[in-house]
C-alpha cells in the first residue's frame, strides 16, 4: 500500500512537472500571444493541478489537503477568467492573431528561441 501511494505521488508530481515545463516551453516557442495563452493554460490547469493533487495524496486527509484543494479551486476558477480578459484586451487593443498565411507554416522566431532553451 505504501509503495503504491509512493509511486502514485511520484507519477502525479512528475507528470505535473512535465506539463508545467512543456507549457513554459510553449510560451517561448509559439508565435504570438494568443497561441502562447494556450500553452500558459496548460501550466495553469494540468501542471499546477497534478502537482497539487500529488501533494494532497502525500499529506493524506487533513486540513493541509483542504488548503491544497482550495488553492486548486481558486486557480481553476480564476485562470480562465484571467485568460479570457487577456484575450479580450489583446483583441480590442489591436493585437493581430497569428495566422499561417502570414508566416509559412513554421515559426521562424519561435523555433530559433526554442532551440536555445533547455
Amino acid at each position: 500500500m505504501e509503495q503504491v501511494l509512493s509511486v502514485l505521488i511520484w507519477a502525479l508530481l512528475l507528470s505535473g512537472a512535465f506539463f508545467l515545463v512543456s507549457g513554459a516551453l510553449g510560451m517561448v516557442r509559439l508565435p504570438d500571444v494568443f497561441t502562447r495563452m494556450h500553452a500558459a493554460g496548460m501550466a495553469d490547469t494540468m501542471g499546477a493541478g497534478l502537482i497539487l493533487v500529488g501533494l494532497c495524496v502525500y499529506s493524506g486527509a487533513n486540513f493541509v489537503t483542504l488548503r491544497l484543494v482550495l488553492i486548486l479551486a481558486f486557480l481553476w476558477f480564476t485562470s480562465p477568467i484571467a485568460t479570457h480578459a487577456l484575450a479580450k484586451a489583446a483583441l480590442s487593443g489591436g493585437a493581430e492573431p497569428y495566422t499561417v498565411g502570414a508566416g509559412d507554416g513554421g515559426t521562424d522566431d519561435g523555433a530559433g528561441e526554442g532551440g536555445g532553451a533547455p
Binding site: 497561441t35 480562465p80 479570457h84
Partner: protein, 159 residues
C-alpha cells in the same frame, strides 16, 4: 434570504478549518468576520443566483469529472504540438452557438472552453461565442457540442 444564510454557512465552514483554533474568542471573531462580509454583500445586492449558485452544486459534481478528463485530453494534445520538433500551429477564430439560457450557464460554458487548453473564449455576444483555437482542424465541433450539451444539463430545467 436563503442564499444569505447559505453564503454565511459556506464562509464560516471555510473559516473554521483555515483558522483551526476553536476557543470562544476566535470563534467569536470568525462569526463577526463572516457576518460583516455577508452583511456588506447583501447590502451591495450581490448575493443572488449568480454569486451563490448553490442550486448547481449537485449537478456540478457530475460535470466536474468529465471536464477534468476533457482538460487532460486537450492538455496532451497541446503538449504534442509544443514538443514537436517543428511547431505547426494553425490558429484561427471560430464561432459557436451556445444553447444556455442564463448568463451563469454561459459563464460556465465559456470558462470550460477556456479551461481546456487549445481553445480560449475571446468574446461573447448573446449566445454567439467567439473562440480562438490553436489548431483549426481539431475543432470539428463535436467536443464543443458535447460540452455545450453538458453545460445546458448542468444549468438545469428548473431555472
Amino acid at each position: 434570504m436563503n442564499r444569505v444564510l447559505w453564503l454565511w454557512g459556506i464562509l464560516f465552514a471555510l473559516w473554521l478549518p483555515l483558522s483551526d483554533h476553536y476557543t470562544g474568542l476566535f470563534l467569536f471573531f470568525g462569526v463577526l468576520a463572516c457576518t460583516i462580509a455577508v452583511f456588506f454583500g447583501a447590502r451591495m445586492g450581490i448575493v443572488d443566483r449568480e454569486s451563490v449558485p448553490v442550486h448547481l452544486v449537485w449537478r456540478g459534481i457530475r460535470y466536474v469529472p468529465w471536464l477534468v478528463w476533457e482538460i487532460f485530453k486537450s492538455n496532451v494534445r497541446v503538449a504534442r504540438i509544443i514538443l514537436a520538433p517543428r511547431v505547426r500551429v494553425d490558429p484561427s477564430i471560430v464561432h459557436f452557438r451556445a444553447s444556455q439560457r442564463t448568463d451563469l450557464g454561459r459563464f460556465i460554458y465559456a470558462n470550460s472552453i477556456t479551461l481546456t487548453p487549445g481553445t480560449v473564449t475571446t468574446g461573447i455576444v448573446g449566445d454567439d461565442f467567439e473562440v480562438h483555437a490553436i489548431v483549426q482542424e481539431e475543432i470539428d465541433g463535436s467536443e464543443e457540442n458535447e460540452m455545450n450539451r453538458r453545460v445546458s444539463v448542468l444549468e438545469g430545467e428548473a431555472a
